[in-house]
């Protein structure tokens, strides 16, 4: 009987082509010859792993056995692998393998690389979440962002994902990683940080990814925020140190002139409501918030709300929202400003 290993390359390539991702992962473990053959195959000849979401995440506190995990989600179910820097181990389905001579951060990054090599269809979500590294006794985990950036750069192609979710513990980690998302596929960008971090957005707003995304969700406080850098988004949810009444007026005009915008939410540490009244006229007080209503097309009304909220014991902030509502939801007695006013 002919041995499958001795089959011509074209035949082996075809067999791989008809195998699914899990089979190919198993084939890599069968023997050295198969592993080498698969490693040397170009990405285009590998089957599509068809994952919906991929996450690489580090744990915040070191009370757990593992320091990070890698998850790939399919339509039905998911697979999660845990990595422990201290134990030098990887656990899959409760089965732990000790990798005595390996750098565990490298192992995790390599595993991610393998998964990304097989991913051809667009991901729904790609997440890289770094916790607070200060809680980790082992310094190896600190090298993860750099190693991840290097690996993504070497892939030589941008990752097609509709949502990119990034949690960082330092501003410098954002742009080098974000650059590896395919701007044409990217729809939603989510940024998180450990603690109350402030981020200067000058270099982030310059990326293609920022410019192409349709929605932005940003938890860290953004400094140097300019309205022209965000008004292309159809959905915004972000925090900033300060916005002006002029900024809100610019956004209102953008909203009224475009049919694409859906909802803007700002949380600002500072805001002067009086200035806004000077431009738009007095607000309508409703449900402990100040509202301004602007007529849009047909039965649609733009509802701008300012609400002062207490965040924690002594921190106040302003929540400023633009929302499109139905004409019939405007409370009685409220003035609806005409379409072309201002």
């Amino acid at each position: 009987m002919p041995s499958i290993i001795e089959m011509p390359e074209l035949v082996l390539e075809k067999i791989i082509e008809f195998s699914d991702f899990k089979s190919v992962l198993a084939l890599r473990e069968v023997c050295r010859d198969f592993r080498n053959f698969i490693e040397n195959l170009s990405d285009t000849k590998l089957p599509d792993s068809k994952f919906e979401a991929i996450t690489l995440c580090t744990f915040n506190k070191h009370r757990r056995k593992s320091d990070m995990f890698l998850t790939y989600e399919e339509e039905y179910g998911f697979r999660r692998q845990f990595y422990s820097v201290m134990e030098k181990s990887r656990s899959i389905n409760g089965k732990t393998t000790i990798l005595e001579n390996s750098n565990i951060v490298d192992v995790a990054v390599q595993d991610l690389e393998t998964v990304l090599k097989f991913q051809k269809s667009d991901l729904e979500c790609l997440s890289f979440h770094f916790g607070d590294f200060q809680h980790h006794n082992n310094s190896l985990i600190h090298t993860l962002p750099d190693k991840l950036t290097t690996m993504l750069g070497k892939l030589n192609r941008r990752i097609k994902t509709k949502e990119f979710s990034l949690k960082v513990n330092h501003q410098s980690q954002i742009v080098p990683i974000l650059r590896n998302a395919d701007p044409d596929t990217l729809e939603r960008l989510s940024l998180y940080s450990t603690g109350d971090m402030e981020i200067e957005i000058d270099d982030i707003v310059g990326t293609e990814q920022w410019k192409h995304a349709e929605s932005i969700h940003c938890e860290p406080y953004l400094t140097n925020l300019k309205m022209e850098d965000v008004c292309h988004f159809s959905r915004i949810s972000l925090k900033t140190n300060s916005v002006t009444a002029r900024d809100m007026d610019t956004l209102k005009k953008t909203f009224l002139s475009s049919s694409e915008l859906m909802r803007y939410e700002f949380e600002s540490r500072n805001f002067n409501e009086q200035e806004l009244s000077n431009i738009w006229g007095p607000a309508f007080g409703f449900e402990s918030a100040s509202h301004w209503y602007f007529q849009m097309k047909e039965w649609q009304v733009l509802d701008f709300v300012v609400r002062r909220e207490l965040m924690g014991r002594d921190r106040r902030c302003y929540c400023l929202n633009f929302d499109i509502i139905d004409m019939e939801d405007v409370p009685d007695g409220a003035v609806i400003h005409a379409y072309n006013e201002n």
Partner: protein, 188 residues
Amino acid sequence: MSSTEQGTSSAAPAEPTTAPESAAAPEVPESFYYVHGKDKVVHKVSAGALQHSALIHGMISNLGYTEEQAKANPFPFENIDGDILQMVVDWCNQHKGKPTPPEDTNLPKQKEKLFDLVLAVNYLEIKELLTYCCKQVAMMVKGKSPEEIREIWMIPTDAEDEAAEKEAKKRAGKEAAGETAAAAGDAK
């Protein structure tokens, strides 16, 4: 006998070179060729059916054999077992001039036969059949663990492989030593 026939064929006018094209035009009588495998059993196959094999199609398109010449010069495929060649011929006949279906469920279930068929089909360059075969080989191990795959495809582990290699080397070394000893004995 075949050499004389070949001689006449080269001297004959070049008019029948268009013969393989006849498959496309039904009014022209179909031409046939002959193939045999390791068991020397000769199969008569139409040029239309043989079009599936890029290798044979390439061979016959420039030959311009007459019926007699073709009969006297069957293509020898000594590297293909008789029963495997029979399978290939049957498949080509069944799918002559027809668009191939997306799947083929009539492939051998026995893995030894399937692997032999893969090699034969790859050699004869029958693209569609190779696709079906490779798909079936891939399906054999779908959802299986590395250990199970090793068993199904009968692949030795790296350790077994190394041990076998060592053993083979050792044996070769011994044989060589034996030979030199014998040679030395002869010299004496």
